[in-house]
Amino acid sequence: MARRAGGAKAAGPLSKVSVRVKVNGVEYSHEVEPRLLLVHYIRDVLGLTGTHIGCDTSNCGACTVLMKGPWGDEWRAVKSCTFFTPQADGTEIITIEGLARDGELHPLQKAFWEHHALQCGYCTPGMILSALGFLKINPNPTREEIKKGISGNLCRCTGYVNIVKAIEAAAKEMREKGSWI
C-alpha cells in the first residue's frame, strides 16, 4: 500500500472506505478511495453518465444531483463535484436517469422539451435536478424566484428564458398532479 513521504507515519497507510448508497432506487456498495469525487463515482463507477462535469470548480451546476440523507428526510440539490464519495455513505441519490417512469418523461423533462429549454443539452441534467430540488422547497414560485433558484446553474446556449418558462410550466403540472417525482 502506498505511503506518503514526510508525514506518512502520522497518517498511516492510505486505506479505502466502504460506501453504501441508493441511486435511482438501486442499492450499491463499494470500496472507494476517500478522495474519489461523488461525480466520478456516479459516472465512472456506476456508469451513469447523464450527470455532467462542466466547470469542476463548484460554479456551473452541471454535476447537480438530488440527495436525501444529510438533511433528515428531505431531497436537496447538491453539486456532486464538490463532494467526497464517503460523505454520501447512507444517503439516497437521484440522477437524471432516475426521473422517467416506465418510459414516460418527468414533467420537468417534458416541459424542457416542449419549451425548447435546451440547445446543446450539456447543462440540462443539472438544470433539471436543480429545478426539482428548488421546487421541493418552493412548489409555487414566481418567475423571479425561479431565476434565483437556478442561479447556481450556468447555461451557455439558451439565454435562460425558455428554461424559466419550462420550470414554470412543469411546476404547474406537478402541483396539479400533486406529485413531485
Binding site: S15, P34, S58, T64, W71, K79, T82, I137, N153
Partner: protein, 298 residues
Amino acid sequence: MIPRSFQYAAPRTLPEVVKTLRKYKGDAKLLAGGHSLVPLMKLRLSNPQVIVDMRHLRPKLSYVKTDGRSVRIGALTRHAEIEHSSELRRVLPIMPTAAEWIGDMQVRNMGTIGGSLAHADPASDWPVVMLATDATMVAYSGRTRRIPAVKFFQGPFTTSLKYYEVLTEIVIPKPPPNHGWSWKKFERKAGDFATVNTAVIVIPGKGGRIERASIAVGAVHVRPYRATESERMLAGKTPTIDLLRSAAEKAAEVAEPTSDLRGSAEYKREMVKVFVRRALVEACERANLIRPQVAEVR
C-alpha cells in the same frame, strides 16, 4: 481535478473528533459541508493527510434554538437551514436574509455556518454578521472556550481556533424586537463573493434617538471590521440622512481594500460609503427612526 490522497475518518462523537485532531497534530482537517475545503483540495492548495468528516455529529450540532436572551446556532447548521428558519425570520431577520445571499442554492444546501466562520475568508458573509450581532463562538477541545467575534477573526483565513478545537456553537444575544437591521452585499455577478458586504444593527432609544448602532464591514480589509468610530458618531443621536452619510464615510476610512478583479481599491472604498449608507438608512427605517426614503436617497 483530483485532490491528493488522504486518510478518511468519520468519528461518531465530539470527543473522538478532538482525539483524532490531536493525534495528527496539524496534519488533519475537519470536514463540515466541504464547500470551501473540497475546492481547495481539488486545486491542491490544501493537502491535508487526514480528513475528519463531522457528518455523524450533525444530529447533535445542527440546530437553531432561542430562549429569552439569546439565539444559539449549531456549527453544522447549513446556510439553507438558516435561510428557511421561520424562528430566525422573527427574532433575528438579518440571519436568514444574509443566508439568502450566500453562493447559490446548492452551496447553501451543503455549506455550514461553522465551516464558513472557521474558514474565515475575508470576503465571506457570516463573519460580518457575527461581528455586527456581537456573537460568541463556542469551541470544544475537551473543555469549552468562548470567543467573542471581535477576537475570533484574526486575518485572512485565520481564526483564534487551535488545531485541536472544534467550533460547536454560535451564541447571539437576542436584539430587542424593535431593533432595526440591514444586510447589504454588493456582488459583481449572481452568487459571487462580496465586493463589499455590511451588516448593521440599530437599537432605538427614547425620543427618536439611536441608542446604539453596530456596523460591520467585510471584503475590504484583511479581516472584517467593526466601524467603531462611526458607531460612536451615532450613539445617542437623532438620525438624519446627513449624519448617516458622514458615519458611512467614516466607516470607509478604516477600509484597506486591494485592487483585484472585483474593482480597484479606490472604487471599493467608494462602495463602502455607498453600501454602509444604504444599510444605515434601511436599519433606521426599520427601527422607525426615520421615514421611508425615496430611492435616490437610499
